[in-house]
């Protein structure tokens, strides 16, 4: 066996090495070829959004090559960005998302700190419960929640349905469990000695959280913030169910319910609206991609 191997190696080392690197080169070429195909598949819809948004209604209905803009125009953008209604949607979305992010962080960061560091009765069960809650989809709860809020309105006179702020109560059910879960993971990865050193240095629990844990787990905090923001911005079912007046709508629902009028589709404006609606998450993603991806993978890799 040994002799054979040595023999082979000494006789044809160059050929062997050469074929190896040729294999590599071909593997690389195929990889790029398929990656380009997949990139086309994945990027076609957003690119087509952009193409359509630059077309006038006349060009859209002219049935020319749909993949090309012959007479680019910004009229869709100007008409949307000067429409009070559309700006209202944007404003509602922004307010809701910012409030939801704040509420989420205020609830989940202290909870994650307590669950990862201060063992107390039932804390392990609660951590598991948080994870299970994260797996409960909104499609399971929207009907009972709708009825619940209607009943609350009937009994207390507090009108929650068809008010944008009802979303501030609803969205945290989607954001808090996941953010708590990944923050537990990030906090748990901080060595125990660090909080012991802080305690010996004279820090209270609150100071340990604000001056040690939050700065050290900042990447996790950013990832969680991004997640909370994108979830609130993209949420479609809850606003569709709970808000109906045009001045209470957020972007996704607003675009779909107001720009589609019966069977009349103004595709230029719809695509422009969709692109503007997709812009904030895309911009955040472009600048904070690494945090975004860290948050995405954290759910399954930590805990």
């Amino acid at each position: 066996m040994t002799t054979v191997t040595i023999d082979k190696a000494t006789r044809t080392p160059k050929v062997k090495y050469g074929s190896m690197s040729r294999d590599r080169a071909w593997a690389l070429r195929w990889s790029y070829f398929f990656l380009v195909i997949f990139a086309i598949f994945f990027l076609t819809p957003p690119v087509y959004m952009l193409i359509t948004s630059l077309k006038s209604s006349a060009e859209i209905s002219a049935a020319t090559n749909p993949w090309w803009v012959f007479h680019p125009t910004l009229e869709n953008y100007t008409s949307l960005l000067t429409s009070n209604q559309f700006l209202r949607f944007f404003w509602n979305s922004a307010i809701v998302s910012i409030f939801v992010v704040t509420i989420t962080m205020l609830i989940s960061v202290p909870a994650a700190f307590a669950l990862s560091r201060m063992r107390f009765w039932g804390s392990a069960t609660l951590a598991t419960g948080v994870f299970l809650t994260y797996l409960v989809p909104e499609t399971l709860l929207f009907i009972p929640l709708f009825k619940m809020f209607a009943v609350i309105g009937d009994f207390t006179g507090i009108q929650l349905i068809n008010r944008w702020y009802v979303l501030l109560i609803l969205y945290p059910t989607l954001t808090v469990p996941f953010c708590t879960w990944i923050m537990i993971g990030y906090f748990a990865s901080i060595p125990k000695e660090l909080d012991e050193a802080a305690i010996i240095d004279g820090a209270s629990w609150f100071q340990t959280l604000t001056r040690i844990f939050i700065p050290v787990a900042l990447p996790g905090l950013i990832a969680a913030t991004i997640f909370a923001f994108t979830v609130s911005w993209a949420q479609f079912l809850y606003p569709l169910v709970f808000t109906t007046s045009t001045d209470q709508l957020v972007m996704p629902v607003g675009i779909i319910t107001t720009l589609i009028k019966g069977d009349v589709f103004n595709w230029g404006q719809i695509m422009t609206g969709a692109l503007l609606g997709a812009a904030p998450p895309l911009i955040i993603y472009a600048f904070l991609m690494d945090y975004y991806i860290a948050g995405l993978t954290a759910g399954a890799t930590k805990g």
């Binding site: 994945f42 090559n65 700190f113 419960g129 994870f131 993209a234 996704p252 595709w267 991806i293």
Partner: protein, 312 residues
């Protein structure tokens, strides 16, 4: 040096004498503080997740006007309706097909990205994750426009080759295909990212050892990559199964359940019946049918996540 360090620490000594409290008190305080810190979380879960879940069960036992307890009549009614069984069938086809394709596609793409030089990986990864970043309601609109019956850009392109036109959302079979296609488009990048992270965590020495042992490329995938990624594949797949099964946005916007209820899944049909049809109890009953499959997937995920925790 001596001044600073040897100076007796009088302030601290005095403080020690004054600040003497029972350590047990402190401990009790610590768990009280911890409880208070988690209280908002507990309230949120209890009032807005657990309570509505049980409330859904209660609602499901009422009649349409919610005046009368009717036991399981809503379920009996559902079992007799053909549309219900259509929804069950479609939900399963939708979820299983989409998840399988997402998983396979994600695995393949992750491999290609992993194959190319590390410098370029960030750029490609960034591009390929875009579908996951765009709010699904917005990107589905783009698909709706690509599938438009009269101006479909796909049909235009197919027309150049003399094929089509395809009734993307008009025909029952094609509509199911389109809905699944869009779901794959949205979800495959998530699988890609998860698998890529898992691929990166496989130690290079294992591949080198396998290469020395004479394994070819698919043996390396079969005997090294897949076993090492097993857990993450399981978690990602189960997680995606939940999300896909409970999907609402894509079907609602692309077909709204049509043509003739042939693309309705549990969530969209529950919305149609419960909110649009104002039969809240029936809608609640429909959505409750998601619970068993979600619960099974959740149990398996929890098992795998805990296993991961133990490995670490």
């Amino acid at each position: 040096m001596a001044d600073v360090v040897l100076q007796p620490n009088r302030a601290a000594t005095a403080k020690t004498a004054r600040k003497r409290s029972s350590l047990h008190n402190a401990l009790r305080r610590k768990s009280t503080v911890a409880f208070l810190m988690t209280l908002p979380l507990i309230l949120l879960i209890a009032l807005l997740v657990i309570y509505p879940a049980f409330y859904a069960i209660h609602l499901a036992t009422l009649n349409k006007s919610m005046q009368r307890f009717i036991g399981l009549s809503n379920f009996e009614f559902l079992f007799k309706r053909e549309t219900f069984w259509l929804v069950v069938k479609q939900s399963c086809i939708f979820a299983i097909t989409a998840v399988i394709f997402k998983a396979v596609l994600g695995f393949i793409i992750a491999h290609f990205v992993h194959n190319i030089p590390a410098r370029g990986q960030r750029k490609w990864r960034g591009m390929l994750l875009v579908p996951w970043v765009i709010p699904p309601a917005m990107s589905t609109l783009a698909w709706l426009w690509l599938f438009d019956p009269s101006y479909s850009a796909f049909n235009y392109t197919l027309g150049l080759f003399g094929a089509g036109p395809i009734p993307w959302t008009g025909d029952a079979l094609w509509a199911r295909f389109s809905v699944i296609l869009v779901n794959i488009w949205v979800g495959a990048p998530f699988f890609m990212i998860m698998y890529l992270a898992a691929l990166k965590s496989v130690p290079e020495q294992l591949y080198e050892a396998a290469a020395i042992d004479g394994a070819n490329w698919w043996q390396r995938i079969w005997y090294v990559t897949l076993p090492m990624m097993r857990n993450i594949i399981a978690i990602t797949t189960l997680f995606s199964l939940i999300v896909t099964f409970a999907n609402f946005d894509i079907v609602r916007i692309l077909t709204a359940g049509g043509p003739l209820d042939h693309t309705h899944i549990f969530a969209t049909w529950a919305f149609r019946v419960g909110i649009e049809g104002s039969d809240i109890p029936l809608g609640a009953s429909v959505s409750l049918f998601m619970v068993p499959i979600l619960a099974i997937a959740a149990i398996f995920i929890l098992r795998d996540v805990n296993k991961r925790g133990n490995e670490a």
